[in-house]
């Protein structure tokens, strides 16, 4: 619900990103025209409406990089306040799909996205949506920790500053502290907030980047193989953190580790060669997969 208003009034923000080169005819018919209507249909200020069950609804998403098609007709529902894992062999399109959700593919000039992806019923690819506003609602954590070459404090304060979330210095300090606490990093860095974030260890950097994403109070956090560059202890800490964050955010995680998907996620989607093969509750996927390809992959027979 909270997403709708900023999306609708998104043109207020400076529009510096390349605009989406979108083919309207291929989008789901209800995508743009339906968005305001849907918004009106949902009773405002109501905690448990039916749409809140699924935060993200994707329908017939096709993605092209130049001539090459990377995703084929992906339709998937991502539940709110839970962790959804995308698994599949390298190059299967799971990261591409992830990057569609916050329109990071806009930064790649040759990328073209078709189909509809709705967050709380509003199409993220609609012309009225400013990707800049969208991304402040949909945070992202990358494979390799990428703290800015600034202090730890400045790293976390970056988002709140550019979005004007804190008018006073104390507010900003409060946001930084609570974000670092949520990311489980506060105790380790409280006495060195003004040292460079690049001086932290890899696992600490990744938690710093998560704190940076949390600081703008997103509703969705996308994680693109967040633990692939980390050792097992740092990985365990991040997984614990993901489990804690689940109560507040809708989390989507791309992972190559089947064990990790089983540990942290409630829902799992299996991608293969650009197609969504199967999705469902994680337990079911791992104990009783319907598709043989899924079974082969999770038992390690290919991939």
């Amino acid at each position: 619900m909270t997403l709708l208003n900023p999306l609708a009034s998104s043109l207020s923000k400076g529009h510096a990103m390349p605009t989406e080169n979108r083919d309207d005819t291929l989008a789901a018919p209800h995508a743009q025209a339906g968005a305001p209507a849907l918004a009106a249909a949902i009773p405002a200020g109501h905690g448990h409406v039916t749409t809140s069950e699924f935060k993200i609804r994707a329908r017939d998403v096709n993605v092209f990089y130049g001539e090459k098609q990377a995703l084929f007709d992906v339709s998937l529902d991502v539940p709110a306040k839970s962790v959804t894992a995308f698994i599949g062999p390298s190059g299967c399109g799971k990261s591409t799909f992830l990057r569609c959700i916050n329109r990071m593919n806009d930064t790649i000039p040759s990328a073209k996205v078709q189909g509809s992806i709705e967050i709380d019923g509003a199409d993220v690819n609609a012309k009225s949506v400013d990707p800049v506003v969208l991304r402040s609602r949909v945070g992202m954590v990358f494979q390799k920790p990428n703290p800015f070459p600034k202090t730890i404090f400045e790293n976390v304060a970056y988002g709140p500053k550019i979005h004007g979330l804190a008018s006073r210095k104390e507010d900003l300090e409060g946001i930084v502290e609570s974000s670092l606490k949520k990311a489980g990093l506060w105790n380790e860095v409280a006495d060195r907030l003004h040292q460079p974030g690049t001086g932290l260890s890899g696992g600490q950097q990744q938690r710093l980047v998560i704190a940076r994403a949390i600081a703008v109070s997103p509703e969705v956090i996308l994680m693109d193989e967040p633990c692939s560059a980390l050792d097992p202890i740092a990985t365990a800490k991040i997984e614990e953190l993901i489990d804690e964050l689940r109560s507040q955010y809708c989390i989507v995680i791309v992972t190559h580790s089947m064990a990790q998907a089983a540990r942290v996620s409630q829902k799992t989607a299996f991608f293969h060669l650009g197609k969504l093969v199967e999705s469902g509750p994680t337990e079911e996927m791992f104990t009783n997969p319907r598709d043989t390809r899924t079974q082969d992959y999770i038992t390690g027979r290919f991939g």
Binding site: P109, R135, M140, N146, P147, P149, I162, V216
Partner: protein, 480 residues
Amino acid sequence: MLTWLSLLFLALFSSAAFMAGRGRAVKSAGGAAARLHSLPNYYGAYAALWAGVPAAILLLLGAMFGGRVEDALLQAQRPAAVSALTPDRQAVFFSDVQATAEGQAASEVTYEGALKVAFDAKVAEARTIDGVVRYSTLGLAGVLALIGFFLAVPRVNPEFRARNRVEGWIAGVLIACSVSAVLTTLGIVLSLIWESWRFFESVPVLSFLFGTEWAPQIAMRADQVASSGAFGAVPLFAGTFLVMLIAMLVAAPVGLYSAIYLSEYANRGVRATIKPLLEVLAGVPTVVYGFFAALTVGPLFRAGFNWLGAQMIGGPLDGVGQYLGEVQNQMALVAGVVMGIMLIPFVSSLSDDIINAVPQSLRDGSYAMGATKSETVKKVVLPAALPGIMAAMLLAVSRAVGETMIVTMAAGLQAKLTANPLDTVTTVTVQIVNLLTGDQEFDSPKTLSAFGLGLTLFVVTLGLNIIALRIVQKYREQYD
């Protein structure tokens, strides 16, 4: 001719040594090259190097210094009649002896009596010495080649580590190259220091560094040699600084902004067009910029200021108008602006590389936070690239300080201590050119002052380069 022939012969001998060394290696391994420690060619190269290189070095040294040795031997003993001559006449005598001995035209001096006897004796001696030096060099080279050959070839056996030895030779050549570059630099610095020392013997260092009047031509008059105050370098450095400042005011923003546009905003097609064009601009010789400044920009600026002055005359700013009406073609502003244009591609190309070196992951991180492109550039990319950009600017400054042609043509020659960009100024480099062009003795303070200026300028640019390098090193540690 003889040297070239003998070098050719040596090359043939060296090739023979190669074949011998290689053949012996293969033979000693019983035809199975795999049993050898090194590849067969290494054994050949080892023998060829020993047979060829020492002899070649001797031949080249002989070609370079043989003449000197001959002169020294010839002049070691001077007949009494020759010793009686003045040193100048003695030099003429010996050069005539050399020329006659080699069958070339001598000077028109005629030698009579005892001198004639001495002359003929020395000519004969010169011919003998020439033959001895020449053929002894050749003989010695031959002996060296043979020694090398017979030292190297018998050592070849399957256990012999020829590859390591040959690589040692290669390392030696590489070291020699780098050492020669360092030694050349050292030689330049030492000669600068030596000549400056001679200059500072006649002009005190302090009055040179802090004097405010530059009038080197006064010292040309014998009775006023080294009159202090005429060699105050402050106006020159002030002029240099003024022109450099104007140049950087043009080059820094334009170059940096074009770099930001090229690396962050331009699409691939635009970038592929503009970058080569900028690099063409960087390839224009400075003398071309110089006459562009003197013939196009100078008159244009003059016309502009004169017109502006004409509008002001009679008004409340009458004085300013009068001044602007008299502005000439040559001024610091013209030189500075054109130099700035010259530096734009330099600054832009360096900054573009530095901005591109900022990892894409940082930009992605910023975009994923909901930052706009301009926020990303301002708050993430530029801060990360700042040390490198600073280093690029400092390199541009040291180029501006060392630039000569544009200023010679467009800024004038008068040494004035002024901060007025519309006035004529002169710079250190321009003065050095003026002091040293033309036929002059290098012993008056006037010419020697060029070395004083050169040394000071060298210290300034060296300092700037060191600072730039330091910043670049720090920059490298920034991310990763």
